[in-house]
Structure formats: structure tokens, C-alpha cells
Amino acid sequence: MATVSDLNISEVKLSEEYVGKWGMFINQDVCTGCQACVAACSMENNIPFVGDEDSGYGRTMNWIRIERFWEGEYPEVKMTQNQPMMCQQCGHAPCEPVCPAFATVHSQTQQLNLQVYNRCVGTRYCANGCPYQVRSFNWRDYKRPEPLPNQFNPDVTVRRRGVMEKCTFCIQRIHQAEDKARSEGREVADGEFTTACAQVCPADAITFGRVDNPESLVSQLTKEYQGVRHLEELGTLPNISYFKGA
């Protein structure tokens, strides 16, 4: 296994040499676009609701969204598969080098892109650098009327105004599972835990796990379905692969 720091970046063109740690496989054929993952993600990660006025300005806050596409000319349009889109946890991420505050950095241990909220000063360079457009910015301290504060997840920071945020692959669950496994003196088993979006998906369109373990379900599905990575040609080395059949 080679991590980015071992490779000569300028030579990394294709994802073949790079193996991340955590990854996903998304089967777009079975995704019904029900948005359960979007709701579950908001609950798990303390994402505020921005309300309709700010939504109108394009300030929606989601860490995962369902992209819809169509083919053909009106009225003969045909909907194609829904495409769940979230941070691809790139191995060679365009968001990282542009941050002047080093608030978005690469975790060598978890092979994830971190967003350190308390370090972030809100320049929004990273969001402009992200080819997947998956980062959202806290334009305000959005109101959370009672009893909403009671359902905060205590393991996730409640972000303030002026801070960028994005999908973390539910890093709090990763830490929890790793800590539990270590207390029992074993490795984290495949499928022992999963992210909020994958857990809630009624169609099992999202599979999460270790991509550096060829035995894991996510590796096997990726191989079997020949999953493709989005915008791979940019050299971002994304850790999510998609499958779209029909």
C-alpha cells in the first residue's frame, strides 16, 4: 500500500497506485432518491437548517445531496439515475493546499480530509477549489428552536458562523469503533459500524468500509461492479466509487 506522501505527486495520474483507508461504493441503480441519507446525515452531524430565504441565495447546508439528471429534450425527458454526492475524501485533495490557515489538512492515519473548525477562518478558498462542490459554509448562526438542541450529537462539534464544513465519513463513529475494538484487543471488523447515510439507506445503495482490505464488502462490490470514480482525470484520487448500469 502506498500513501500519497510516499509517491511523487506529479507522477500520480491514475488511482491505481493509491489505496486509501476508508471508502464507499455507491450503486446508483438502486438509489430511489428518497433523501433519507440527507436527513440522517443532518441529524448525526448537527447540521443546521438554513431556512428558505438563505436557500434562495444558494446557502443550503448539506454534507450529502442527491443530484438529479435528465436526458433528452422537453417533453421527451427521461430521468437518469440519482447520484448521491458527498465529500470524496480525495487522496490528493484540491481543497487542502489552497487553505491559508491549514484548517483543512490530510489525516495520514485515517486517510481522510479533515476540517478543523476551530482553525478555520472562513476564506472559502477550499469550497472554490473543490471540483465536487460538496463543502458548505456557515453563513449565519442558524436558529435551533427548542427542542431541537436536545438532539445534538455530543460527539460532533456544533459549528459557529463563518466556518466551512463538509462530510467527515462520520469520523466520530470511526473513532468510537476503533476505541471499542482496541479496548477489546482486536481490529475493527468489516461492517461493525457504518456511516449514518449508509446505515439509513433503505435500498442499501451506499456501502462503507475499508478499501485497503480486499476482503471487505466495499472492496468486493467495487471490484465486481467495476466502480468508477468521479472526475478521476483531475488526479484527485477520490475514495468513493460509483456504479451506474442501465
Binding site: 479533515l114 460532533v156 476505541d179 482496541r182
Partner: protein, 184 residues
């Protein structure tokens, strides 16, 4: 106008006035800083030194420390298991709030002392499993009466020990100094 003010301040009486103002601001600042360094008032002046002196283990009252992120504070039922049988409980001023709490069934509202901000995720279990002692971070509790912090839990305090712990081990250093270990 301003010039006249300066002229007035330069004469002896003015200098005394400046001195008084300076002293007032300075002592207010010192008082303010002193307030933040003092342990907060607790509903019961719980004496750690006495209880730890009896040989009660920290983990008897803070059992979460070896199991998970939070050490936890004991419920009044745990205090009552002993104090129920201690004659002094009925007479001591200090223990009146405990008696009231048990009789009325209302929980005791302890004021938090050891705390890190919301954006830091601390985990006791990993530290206790790695053989760290409570004293390393909380100081010698056998000497204090009411819990207080021997130091602020700032990032340098955490990282100093993490870097020392990792030593030459690059993989462990990567993990213990990784922003994602503490901030998410």
C-alpha cells in the same frame, strides 16, 4: 481642548489622578484574573482529600474513566451508601445538602471544573488503558478539598505528552498529533 487636558494631567494633582486610575484598572484586572483561577462554588464542599485519604479508589466514584470518554460524577445514591451509616451525616452542616437531595430525590447540581471546549474530543479510556494516572492531568487530589484544575487543558499540554509518548514511533506520532484525533 485636548492640550489643556494634557497640561492639567502633567501637574502634580493630575499625576496623582493618573496613578489612582491606573491602580484601579490594574487591581480590577488582577481581581478578574484571580476569579477565573479559583475553584467554583460547589453545592457541597466535597472534600477529595478526606475520601481519597480513606483509600477510596478514584474509579469507585468516577468509573467511566476506564470505560469511555467521560469519567462521570457519582450519583447521590453512591454517597448515601456510606453516609447513610455515618453518624456525622445527621449533624454535619456540610452534609445537609446531601441529606436534602436524597430525601427530596433531586440530583445534586455539581459545577464542572475539568473541561475542554466543545471542539475538542477527549477520551479517558485510551489514557487509562495506556497506563496514565489521574494525577498526570488532574494533579494530586489527595491534597485538594474541592476539585480544582492544576493547569489549563490547552493544546500544548496535550501535545507535549503525545509527542513524548510517541517518541521515535512515526506511526503513533502521526496518530497522536493528527488534528482528526482531537478535533471533529
Amino acid at each position: 481642548m485636548i492640550k489643556r487636558l494634557f497640561d492639567w494631567l502633567k501637574q502634580p494633582l493630575g499625576l496623582v489622578a493618573v496613578g489612582i486610575v491606573f491602580l484601579a484598572v490594574f487591581s480590577a484586572a488582577v481581581y478578574g484574573i484571580a476569579l477565573t483561577q479559583k475553584a467554583p462554588d460547589q453545592p457541597i464542599q466535597f472534600p477529595h482529600n478526606k475520601h481519597v485519604g480513606f483509600g477510596i479508589q478514584c474509579l469507585y466514584c468516577h468509573p467511566g474513566a476506564s470505560k469511555g470518554p467521560n469519567a462521570g460524577l457519582p450519583s447521590q445514591a453512591k454517597c448515601w451508601a456510606c453516609h447513610n451509616q455515618i453518624a456525622r451525616t445527621q449533624t454535619s452542616e456540610l452534609l445537609a445538602p446531601l441529606k436534602n437531595a436524597v430525601e427530596s430525590g433531586t440530583p445534586i447540581q455539581w459545577v464542572p471544573v475539568a473541561q475542554v471546549p466543545d471542539f475538542v474530543q477527549f477520551n479517558h479510556r485510551a489514557h487509562i488503558a495506556a497506563g496514565k494516572n489521574c494525577e498526570d492531568c488532574h494533579g494530586d487530589m489527595t491534597k485538594v478539598t474541592v476539585a480544582e484544575n492544576p493547569q489549563v487543558f490547552n493544546m500544548g499540554f496535550c501535545l507535549d505528552c503525545h509527542v513524548k509518548t510517541a517518541g521515535e514511533d512515526k506511526v503513533l506520532l502521526n496518530k497522536l498529533a493528527d488534528c482528526g484525533t482531537c478535533h471533529y
